[in-house]
């Protein structure tokens, strides 16, 4: 063991270069990264997808998927030691004991075959000489510190028996049990619900302060940065573009890329409310119910009966945007599927203008579909990979009897409406980026001239900067074509920006519904309050900068 430094940064990255295999988007995943983390501080490394942030983190732990991806230049010093000079055996001694990592997906990050207690115990067994009783005591202790309810029985649970939030706490426990000097957290809260997210962020901050650990926290969410960061580093396509104290970078960003990213973060203050009370009603949902029956299978999960939608009612007026917000399991997606009859509801009614949607015959339903169209969440999965763009967009009108040539001509017009070049028509979906694919999805929805568009988390899978563009497109189209929008989302910032009214769902019920400005400033239901209080960085207002073409 070499000397440990008592002063100076815990982690020092200098001139790091990581090469990608040939055939990748660019030759270098990371090009000349300089970054340091001091004891007791949280440094947030921010970047969008493809920025190389995860690879940088893996490089520090020397866990790159070699030989395809490898470090070609630079040094990484941990407590003064050059990590690239160490042998694999020496690295293994460091991993888990003096430096540890927390990963993004709690569902898959734990070995499904081993109990929770065993997995935490493994860290102790690998690095210490404690007796079994002593290890057991340490495991129980750390589980208590990460606030797992009933540690004594949690120790014997298998990962599939505990919730996602609890699994993440277990990961944190594994990472912290030996009080390492450095923790690298790779988007640990991205896959969690908003309310759980805040709890985990607070936990990380609390324990880090207690143990004096340095934390390198990787994220794409500026809200999270505002919530916990001491310093911020911004990564674009492998290059560090800006670095500095959090308050500086968040409120006075200097690099145009940082400015653009921050500008793309939707403000939590809703715009001025518009009055729709005079507009005709286009959609009325009353007492909608849907229960998923229990699934009994011999192997694997058994599902109990789940009441997904419990007596939901709302109405939508022409030109209005109604947001349905909630966490996973709230039933919001099920509502969208029932309203468009992609799922059969168990009870209640949905009236589109004068027509009854839920009881329509097959022929009537087909005609009704012209009026209500959907935009889906996953840009990868919502377009048939084997169809050309023009056929995807023209498919709807053709199915409804339109002349194919005319339909395709109109499809090309729609492409320019969603700001894509008409040359895109002959291409296939995989040739486009996520944001471009969502635009194609919007064009497809518009092809039938619907009155209502149901958008199910249309921007959740997109990078922040692209999100802002697509949202702007939706807002513009809505205004130009007088569309009514039913907007499903879990992201309250997005809801605040785009929606005139908002309905908050919890466990299948609408707990609060009203104009966005009112709900956000004066929430009445305790769940709404909890939800709003959980938004990371809610006390930070993204600065309005000159040149924001927002």
């Amino acid at each position: 063991m070499s000397k440990q430094q008592t002063t100076g940064p815990v982690l020092e990255i200098e001139g790091l270069r990581i090469a990608l295999p040939e055939g990748a988007d660019r030759p270098l995943a990371i090009d000349g990264l300089n970054l340091s983390v001091n004891a007791g501080e949280i440094v947030c490394l921010v970047g969008e997808s493809g920025s190389g942030k995860t690879l940088a983190a893996s490089a520090v732990m020397r866990l790159l998927p070699e030989p395809h991806v490898r470090v070609t230049a630079g040094t990484v010093r941990f407590e003064g030691q050059d990590l690239f000079q160490l042998s694999e055996k020496q690295m293994r001694a460091l991993r888990g004991s003096r430096m540890s990592m927390i990963f993004q997906e709690p569902m898959t990050a734990l070995n499904p075959q081993k109990r929770v207690g065993w997995q935490i115990d493994e860290v102790l067994r690998l690095h210490t000489n404690l007796s079994r009783k002593e290890r057991h005591a340490r495991v129980l202790d750390i589980l208590e510190q990460v606030r797992i309810p009933d540690p004594a029985s949690a120790v014997n649970a298998y990962p599939h028996q505990i919730s996602g939030g609890q699994r993440q706490r277990v990961m944190i426990a594994m990472a912290l049990v030996l009080q390492p000097k450095l923790i690298i957290a790779d988007e640990p809260t991205t896959a969690l619900d908003v309310t759980t997210q805040l709890q985990v962020l607070r936990l990380v901050r609390e324990l880090q302060a207690k143990f004096g650990t340095g934390v390198l926290f990787i994220t794409h969410d500026f809200g999270v940065v505002a919530e916990i960061a001491d310093r911020v580093a911004v990564l674009r396509q492998g290059e560090l573009v800006e670095q500095g104290p959090a308050s500086e970078v968040l409120n006075r960003p200097r690099h145009p890329y940082t400015q653009a990213l921050i500008a793309a973060v939707p403000d939590l203050r809703p715009p001025k409310p518009k009055d729709f009370s005079g507009a005709p009603e286009v959609l009325r949902v009353a007492n909608l119910k849907k229960t998923f029956k229990p699934k009994r299978s011999l192997f694997g999960r058994r599902r109990n009966a789940v009441v997904a939608v419990d007596d939901v009612s709302f109405e939508l007026r022409k030109g209005e945007t109604l947001g349905i917000v909630g966490e996973s399991g709230s039933g919001k997606t099920t509502v969208s599927r029932c309203v468009t009859r992609l799922l059969e509801a168990d009870g209640g009614s949905v009236r589109l203008g004068e027509s009854d949607v839920l009881n329509a015959s097959r022929r009537d339903l087909r005609a009704l579909r012209r009026d209500i169209q959907m935009v889906f969440q996953d840009p990868m999965a919502s377009l048939n990979p084997r169809k050309r763009v023009v056929d995807l967009i023209a498919q709807g009108p053709i199915v409804h009897g339109e002349d194919p040539e005319k339909a395709r001509a109109r499809a090309r017009e729609l492409l320019s409406l969603v700001e894509l070049s008409p040359a895109a028509a002959e291409r296939y979906p995989h040739e486009f980026s996520g944001g471009q694919r969502q635009r194609i999805g919007i064009a497809r929805a518009l092809a039938l001239n619907p009155k209502i568009i149901v958008a199910d988390e249309p921007v959740s899978a997109l990078d922040v900067s692209v999100q802002a563009q697509v949202l702007k497109l939706l807002a513009d189209l809505r205004d130009r074509l007088s569309l009514s929008l039913l907007f499903i989302t879990h992201d309250l910032r997005v809801a605040a920006q785009l929606c005139d009214r908002v309905a908050v769902m919890e466990k299948g019920k609408i707990v609060e519904i009203g104009p966005t400005a009112t709900v956000f400033s004066n929430p009445t239901h305790p769940y709404t309050r909890k939800l709003l209080a959980s938004i990371p960085g809610r006390n930070w207002t993204p600065p309005v900068l000159a040149g924001n073409a927002a």
Partner: protein, 292 residues
């Protein structure tokens, strides 16, 4: 509104040439193609090598290989030319392989797509039937079918197709089960497309690639099944067949084992070719994704 997102790069090479490029990189897969080419060449030129019946007596019995120009690979105990047997046997094997694979895959697609798409009791019933076919050991069932239908070439092909359809059926069903919940299928339904349109135009084109890749495995198995039948003397006696040559060569195994070895190597080469091609296609169609 300006076309701010107008930038799309130049059209990438077509899907087919991309597939070929990926396939080409795998040396084993290319070897498979070369071997298959060899076998195809043998089948094609069989008529040149032996224009008449390959099962006729061509010379003295048990001439060792590489000793006579008239019979380059030697003769078996009935004096039949081994080289002719190999070349004509290639025709038999390829014919049987291809046709029974087509039969098996067609039945499989039919059963699998209906089962996977509709689910419910249709799925249950079809799956029970599939399980029944899978439970009976396929060679035992093949024997039973041959006992009933006889050993003519057509009947053998049909019988092999009948014992082989369950694997593609399961594969197609699995693909349909996974694809029918995808968002693009929901999108099509949202546009008003009906069941038939969704099965044939949305799901099936996406479900086919893994089945096509699997077809090469089925071809390999069909050839092995046929050779086993022929080895046991249950094949069609009117056609040259490698399995049959091995079966006949058993009686002279101690002294002239080349009668068994040469056709055996032919079988290995052919089956190897299909296996390698299958693996190469699989890797070309699903390249291992590297996480970035």
């Amino acid at each position: 509104m300006s076309l701010i997102e107008a930038k799309i790069e130049a059209a990438p090479p077509s899907a087919w040439s991309e597939l070929w490029r990926r396939y080409r990189r795998n040396r084993a897969a290319v070897l498979g193609l070369v071997l298959l080419g060899l076998v195809l060449a043998m089948a094609a030129t069989a008529g040149l090598v032996e224009p008449e019946d390959p099962l006729r007596r061509a010379g003295e019995p048990l001439i060792p290989p590489f000793t006579s120009w008239a019979t380059p690979l030697g003769t078996d105990q009935l004096g039949r030319d081994i080289l002719a047997g190999i070349f004509h046997g290639a025709r038999t094997s390829l014919l049987i392989g291809i046709v029974s694979t087509v039969i098996a895959v067609s039945i499989g697609i039919l059963v699998g797509s209906v089962s996977g798409y509709f689910g419910g009791w249709i799925d249950d019933t079809l799956m029970r039937i599939t399980e029944a076919f899978q439970t009976i050991p396929n060679f035992v069932l093949l024997l039973a079918l041959v006992a009933i239908m006889g050993s003519s070439l057509q009947n053998m092909i049909i019988a092999i197709g009948i014992v082989s359809w369950t694997a593609p059926a399961r594969l197609v069903r699995a693909e349909f089960l996974s694809l029918r919940g995808r968002e693009f299928v929901e999108a099509a339904r949202n546009l008003g497309v009906g069941d038939a349109g969704i099965i044939f135009r949305e799901i099936l084109p996406n479900a086919l690639p893994p089945v096509i890749v699997f077809a090469s495995v089925i071809m390999a198995i069909s050839i092995l099944l046929e050779s086993a039948l022929a080895f046991l003397g249950l094949g069609d006696p009117n056609y040259a067949s490698w399995g049959n040559m091995i079966g006949m060569g058993r009686s002279v195994l101690r002294t002239d084992f080349y009668c068994v070895a040469i056709p055996g190597i032919a079988i290995i080469v052919t089956v190897l070719a299909f296996s390698l091609i299958g693996e190469g296609l699989n890797e070309a169609v699903n390249p291992r994704q590297k996480k970035s």
